[in-house]
Amino acid sequence: MRTPALAIGWSLWARHRTANGLLLAAIPFCALLYRAFFALIPERLAGGQGFLRELPLTLLPMALSFIWVFYVCGQTENDARKGFTGFPERLFVLPVRTVGLVAWHTLFGVAAIVFVHLAWAWLVFRPVGVHFEMRWPLLLSASAMMLFQGAVWGLASFPWVRTVALVAGGLAIGPLLVVTSIPGFDAHGLAPACVEGTVAAMPLIWVITVMLVAAERRGGWQPWRPMRRFAQRIFDRAIRRRSSFASASGALAWFEWRRKGWLVMAAVAVGVAGAVLMLPVHALLGGPMGLPPWATLLQAFVWPLFIGACLGWFLARPDFSGDIALPPFHAIKPMSSGQIVLIKLRVAMAATVAGWVLALPLTLAITIWPKWAELCHNEEFQEVLRWIRTDGSGAWWLAGMVAVTMVMTWQGMVEGISIGLTGRVKLIGWMTAIRLASIVAVVSVCLWWHRRPELLPRVAPWIYAGLVLVMIWKTAGLIRSLGEVRRRGLWTAKQLRLGVGLWSGVAAAMVLGTALILWKVPVATPLVLLGAVCLWPGGHIAQGVIHLAGNRHR
């Protein structure tokens, strides 16, 4: 390594070289795969953005690769004792000026995101007839990277401020990036103005980032210290535990809630409100993408399920430490693995309910915002909203869907907890990838068949046969895991009954949700059943206990 720049570039690449290599391999792989899909699309639909209209989920790998590049280029390192840190402290001892350190990281970050953006647009989507607008989106990607790095490094001493800034930035820039990528689509003139403003602010943002990183290098920005101490004192007064715990379960529940529960609650609230906030974007894109208005509305119910699964992995972690395996501090507590899992499930349930309750006023505030209503200009979608607002049955339908989605958010968390409790990063990675791929496959198939109603009668028997097999497989998984939990004595008889009760509750909610969708949403029955069976609870409640026992006694 002859120069610091090369060393920094190499470290960005080498730290995650396998995943980076997979990302690079995914681009030509998807290019070939999409060409194969393209060949299947009838000629009359293939022109313009026809490919995306037929297979919108082909955008998902691109979105995932963007997220990965942001993660890699936001080079942060964990400190087990201090919690999260920002800019890696080990770089501060190198004989390189702060401006140089930040500049090289920024340059590599911007180059990486622009390269990935161009590669997907030109190598993958252009050959299948999809032409993205490039000028503004490229500038926006580069700006987003600079903003992300600035927030991650500059606000390292203020983790909560940083989280809020990142969520707000993501919610603002993500939709802008989507909207400005559609050729000739200006979203009422809002989009270009927003992009121009963002890009113009970049030099100032970068200078501030350098100053904040330089302050971190000197031990933190001194003027903030008294303010931080003051905030800490108030925070402590509000949440510091000053009384003894009545039981071990109470202590563990406090730990889970204090470290993760309230964050999960906030994330559910923001996720639900964010899904509603994004409805205009979906309504705007719904027309050009050829999506039915019901699909636009249903996405608001689907997002919390995804959020639930991600939050489940977070809840499964013992703490914020870098290692996701169970550390001795937790593992040696004289408490059974079954009880620990039940406490995690209880905290997940409380956080879900509290998150949804918190989301309701936020959602209400969003929906009465005139600009929001104005942006939902899609006529068919307005029709659906009118039915919900004015018709009594619409309100009941919405209430039922909210209740079912709340249960399913928790069920998503249960699955996430079960996977996360294995404590094995590679296994979690593989299971996540398989899960995501199966969701993408099912949703793609559903959307495709939705547009090909003439094909459904022919394939319906196959769908039903597949559903029966999936149900048998899931039920067998449930029986097997419950049997193992019982055989190994991981749950007492009472805990076993509770686990079966929880499973039955989720299953009942699933049946209710299916009935509600079949009642009102104009989607073919086999497709609704396909989605329902894929979300049907398997043996995750009991598997979580087996996974934790495996993690605890390796």
Partner: protein, 306 residues
């Protein structure tokens, strides 16, 4: 099981325990028995398998072959029954950095019905730990003390310490750690601790086991181990052409006419054999534990290489 049985049984019994991590054999056919009420020192160099063995005792690792019993129970099958009766201080001191000392005490107390609040407070004062202090702001020594405090305050029947001296200054090590170990043992409870500081083990242990490359190469009462090892300085009449071969020799150093041997076993036989080779004993003393360990380890390693 009646009370007499429980009290007469060893606290720890390990039979034919082996553990492999990928290609590395971390534990190789370990046999170990720790009687109740003793201070048991586990010594070995870094990577010898001490922490792996301790993790098996806690049930954090499942035996791939062999058996582990703590209080007569399998720590993997009955974790609650085993863990409720022992206290553990890990080498990593993995206490949650965000907690304050008083929160850590309240949190840990909830898991142990026999938690002694008065004793916990007494230890906290002795260790000079501020209740408001955040764990992440404690020094390494203070962190070790906090770990020791939460391991001791429920008066466990078995105290397991993994490298407890790591990060402690000599004063704390001698005055606090060793005093606590002795106090626990005097109350009839058992201490099992690992260390690579042999002088410390020598000062506090009643029994010890030495580990080298995943094997227990020596185990027994400290006095017996000392009594069975001799260090002799031999003077030969003529310079031996090859290093002299003597029975029970673990380590042989020297050159010319004068050689020093550390040997295990009957002293008389050794002296007689040396006499036959034309050597006489010019000095003799009991080797230190450090010298015994080095001698034993070098024999094990050279055996492994051969």
């Amino acid at each position: 099981m009646n009370t007499t049985d429980t009290h007469s049984k060893p606290v720890i019994e390990v039979e034919a325990l082996s553990r492999r991590f990928d290609l590395k054999l971390a534990l190789n056919d370990i046999h170990l028995t720790v009687p109740r009420g003793c201070v048991f020192g586990l010594v070995g160099e870094n990577g010898a398998g001490k922490t792996t063995l301790i993790k098996h005792l806690l049930g954090l690792l499942k035996a791939q072959s062999g058996t582990v019993r703590v209080f007569g129970l399998d720590p993997v099958a009955a974790p609650v029954d085993v863990l409720g009766r022992l206290g553990y201080v890990s080498e990593q001191r993995d206490l949650p950095g965000w907690m304050r000392v008083d929160e850590l005490l309240r949190y840990t107390a909830a898991f142990y019905p026999r938690w002694d609040h008065g004793y916990a407070e007494q230890l906290r004062r002795e260790f000079v730990l501020e209740p408001d202090a955040r764990i992440r702001n404690l020094s390494r020594g203070e962190l070790a003390k906090a770990g020791l405090l939460v391991a001791l305050a429920h008066r466990p029947e078995l105290l397991v310490l993994d490298e407890p001296s790591s990060g402690l200054d000599p004063v704390v090590r001698r005055d606090i750690l060793e005093a606590i170990i002795r106090t626990v043992a005097d109350e009839g409870r058992t201490v099992f601790f690992s260390s690579h500081l042999l002088d410390e083990v020598e000062r506090v242990s009643d029994r010890l086991a030495m580990m080298v490359e995943g094997r227990v190469i020596l185990s027994g009462r400290l006095e017996e181990i000392r009594a069975n090892h001799h260090q002799l300085t031999l003077r030969f009449n003529a310079v031996p052409i090859v290093p002299p071969e003597l029975p029970g020799v673990l380590r042989l150093t020297g050159a010319g006419q004068e050689w020093t041997v550390i040997a295990n076993g009957a002293r008389a036989e050794l002296v007689e054999a040396a006499g036959r080779l034309g050597a006489k004993v010019v000095a003799e003393r009991s080797p230190s534990l450090d010298e015994i360990f080095v001698a034993r380890a070098s024999v094990k390693k050279s055996g492994a290489q051969n």
